[in-house]
Symmetry: C2
Subunit: 219 residues, 2 copies
């Protein structure tokens, strides 16, 4: 060991913790229905610090979390979503279109917190390690941070919804971020109105749960 | 609520669980040094089932986990890594090159379990929902499943290492997967030789931890 990091004893994870962790994975959910209650800024800051414990390629830590707070920016983001969602609706027909139109696909108006999460493609951290054959691993590192944020948020009774029906370049323009920042996710965050075990899209008949996708293939 | 899923009571997460969860994030680590001990196949199957609780765009569940078990396939993967790693080493000079050459960047020879994780771009699950403006969200869903696998594995005392220094198309050829499957990650899995709080790349002076990346920007 070259560096003098105080290690302490490795934690012991017992059956009780593992059972609880499984509950966290089961009840995580993508939330679109939020209470109006405010969320303390310090709570979001804590969650971003926790998210930064995520794995990253070459230890590049390329995540950039932006809290979208001005009314002008939020209105532009909501307009962006509405335009993209209207275009998406046109691509469905008949019953699917009716089903799509009835889904709640964002919680942008109600969510007290909006977070835009970017990957900084200009970062020199990590010195390019692990990024030559699979450069997309840099973006994937940010997804790991987002999922860490999400799980930690749920353990603190906060709900997170990931909105991908949005024009990412338009989000970059709205927020005026550096040109090398790529949008990975736009998140709605707040206290959920209700808790569910099943995904909203299963509950509203969009997509069944696929048990066959949970199996291990062998090669 | 349209469908009759038995919900049960939402779980209550307390301070003790949250403190333990933070320990899990802190001690997760990317592992490259494995004990030779075998890992029960049922344990990997359980982890894949848990991973399948991850969020996915449009509830598309596009993850495909392949356990790489034949000697021929493993040898081809190891050769793939060595070729890519030698090419990567040539891109560094002087002290960085010496440092790079001294890093342990894979545990492919020692790890009892190899998992190739793919995204099925031909899946019709989710009916394309959420994938029009940000189609990359499909790949990101697989990353969320991988990170879920990783956290659950660590809670069961298993180590995971994500190898990105590999030619992804070559992996697809070696494993002869359907043409629409895209490699997202190649994982080494096994019981770790040692536990650390700090990342291997920090311990070996490749990359410092960047506290400034753990802060919340405002826009």
């Amino acid at each position: 060991m070259k560096r003098g990091v105080e290690q302490g004893e490795p934690p012991i994870f017992d059956d009780a913790f593992r059972a609880r962790l499984d509950k966290l994975f089961e009840w995580r959910r993508d939330v679109r229905r939020f209470k109006p209650d405010k969320v303390a800024s310090s709570l979001i800051e804590d969650l971003v610090r926790t998210a930064s414990l995520a794995p990253s390629v070459g230890n590049s830590q390329p995540w950039r979390f932006v809290s979208v707070e001005t009314l002008a920016a939020r209105e532009a983001i909501i307009a962006n979503f509405h335009a993209c969602n209207a275009a998406a609706l046109k691509s469905y027909e008949g019953e699917r279109a009716a089903l799509y139109a009835g889904l709640k696909l964002a919680g942008l108006c109600e969510a007290p917190v909006h977070l835009a999460v970017f990957c900084d493609h200009a970062t020199e951290a990590g010195s390019g390690l692990g990024r030559k054959t699979m450069p997309e691993a840099l973006d994937y590192s940010v997804v790991a941070a987002i999922h860490t944020f999400w799980l930690s948020a749920r353990a603190k009774n906060l709900g997170v919804g990931w909105v991908s029906i949005i024009d990412p370049k338009d989000v970059c323009r709205t927020l005026n971020v550096p040109p090398a920042w790529k949008l990975i996710a736009y998140l709605c965050v707040g206290f959920p109105q209700e808790e569910h075990l099943d995904p909203e899209l299963e509950r509203h008949d969009w997509q069944a749960h696929l048990v066959e996708n949970a199996r291990l293939h062998r090669g």
